[in-house]
Homo-oligomer: 366 residues x 2
């Protein structure tokens, strides 16, 4: 999804791809095959690049450091990426900045978890500090025995554990900002995200009915994090909102994020374009939305191996629908595409986006 | 510019490219090097493609016919493309359809031109029936001697000549439609185009102050041509408008056209996306504009070899500007990119787009 923005900007992309089957290879001519944890492969790949950036945060710190030593700008830099890679480091840093985090502590066994829960009440949330995504590496536990089982497994796999108070949220928001090396920043409208089974299903931009003070506070939090952590590129701050309107930081992503896919069709400057502009230290573009409302729904693979007939049906049913397919093989639970609908009425946009996403995955057939 | 639309749709593009230096090679992985008049090269290239389409009309008829014979859908087909390739055939067909063409006839020498001018008055317009673009192959002549010189040169080069009455137009419009093989069609808002030295400089979408009847008539003309000529893909009908509001057909283009570049950033479905949808017989997308007005200005190469500092300046000056660069070497008179501005006020959009286009070509430096 970076390539269309790169083409318009006249930016040449070179991609380090784990295999010839990766979908980036379908749309980008300059692909180097190599593994992200192979320092020599990464250094060879990087030679001649003006800047290195990422589509995920799981690049080992030692690889990042070697890149930096070799003199190639890495954006976001390792000192910023650390906080997107390690949830324990993130909590410590954001708490020190006085930003709203749920109660938290690192725990190594069931007893420590129980000690923590004595303050916050059960259930608590246990998270692997590193490596999780889309709900993986997160466990909600209701007693010491369950916590002990998770802790034992984590210890066995050498993973540190973070305990957090379970926030009784009424909805989840995401605040996205772009920040460039010289410190320019732009904030996108704050969106609502809807998760099921830990996977983002829908995004509403802007978050319906969010009051202005909360939206501004969410943007302030994201801009503060971007500045204090010296993030370059796109930053997404996932937030919980509780019934009283308060915001609590959940997670950070330092890259274009699923909660910003609506901006491809729905904003003057997409998150992909602003990510490229930011990491290249080009002036940032206006994030103005094209319509009062955008609804994005992910297409999550189910059991429809051939999308094509469904694709035809959806395009014919709704000429205003923007369907994006990722060129990935259909696999249960995998995000294989998304749809975006622009409009003015939430109910109308929701019906159209949900119908298309359900039809494309084969959940409905009319 | 087709590639971003193809990526979103999940369509794989294979490009026949005249050389490794062609700019399509920078952004499309599947490139075959070959010449468009080399039948065997084209047939080899086409093997395995679902459909063949074009970014210009200058593919020889015999190559098109061999493609059709080989069973590969060619869209638009040779029987439609003929009318975009040959202005004489176009005039004959459109006149037979009762569509508004300036007075015309084929001429082979100065005497025939003078005979024609006796009906219409001097000056008249002489056009090579084939091969011209961006003002090339068009001559305005004011007497028989000048006409005779053009005719002699044309005869020497084996080019047939068309004489047309010079239309005293007050502005030029372009009506774009997309049409698919099964006959679905959508019409884009009618735009005004501004030419200088035969090259399109600016496009205003929609045409400012055009009355509804004229806009509907322009769309009706384009839809009629698309249907009667069995065009598939995008069709642009360039029109002259005279002081009394009347419309006269100037030229046809059967492909995405410069007059529709505003739709990349300014419409829900760009002309490139609808061209792909149409030639693949996918349902067409809504051409709804995002803003009350879009202004597109071409960046015409002058003498600024390194665009980068100007590019930085323009992005910084106007965060709402959409700059597109084509990856071409800068050459005087060559279209090397375009800028689009969305807004509500013509004066404001014009100032922003003109400033950027002039700054990028090096005409102004503040």
């Amino acid at each position: 999804m970076m390539q269309p923005a790169a083409i318009a900007l006249g930016v040449h992309l070179r991609v380090l791809s784990a295999s010839r089957q990766d979908c980036a290879n379908q749309v980008i001519p300059d692909v180097v095959i190599g593994q992200v944890d192979d320092v020599e492969a990464v250094l060879g790949f990087a030679r001649g690049c003006d800047v290195i950036t990422f589509e995920h945060e799981h690049v080992p710190a030692e690889v990042l450091e070697r890149l930096v030593q070799s003199g190639i700008p890495v954006r976001p830099g390792p000192q910023a990426l650390l906080y997107a890679q390690d949830k324990g480091e993130m909590r410590a840093r954001l708490s020190a900045l006085g930003l709203p985090c749920p109660a938290w502590r690192l725990v190594s066994d069931g007893a420590e978890a129980a000690e923590f829960a004595a303050q916050t009440g059960w259930p608590i949330v246990l998270k692997a500090t590193r490596g999780g995504y889309d709900g993986r590496g997160v466990w909600v536990v209701s007693d010491e025995a369950a916590a002990a089982r998770v802790a034992a497994e984590a210890a066995e796999r050498g993973v540190a554990l973070l305990a957090e108070a379970a926030v009784p949220f009424v909805r989840e928001l995401s605040a996205q900002v772009a920040r460039s090396p010289h410190g320019q920043a732009v904030a996108y409208p704050v969106v609502e995200t809807v998760q099921r089974e830990g996977i983002c299903r829908e995004v509403y931009a802007p978050a319906p009915g969010v009051d202005e003070a909360a939206a501004l506070e969410a943007q302030r939090i994201a801009l503060t994090i971007a500045k204090e952590l010296e993030v370059t590129g796109m930053l997404a701050v996932e937030l919980f909102q509780t019934a009283d309107g308060a915001l609590w930081i959940n997670e950070l992503a330092m890259r274009p994020h699923n909660s910003g896919h609506w901006s491809i069709d729905g904003a003057l400057t997409s998150q992909f374009e602003n990510h490229l502009r930011a990491v290249l230290d080009l002036p940032l573009g206006a994030p103005d939305p094209h319509a009062p409302l955008a609804v994005m729904a992910n297409v999550i693979g189910l059991d429809l191996p051939d999308l094509y007939p469904a694709y035809l049906h959806c395009l014919a049913r709704d000429p205003g629908l923007k369907i994006h397919t990722y060129g990935k093989a259909v696999k249960a639970g995998r995000k294989i595409g998304h749809v975006t609908v622009l409009g003015a009425e939430l109910d109308d946009c929701l019906e159209r986006a949900r119908h298309a996403a359900a039809y494309l995955r084969g959940e409905i057939d009319e």
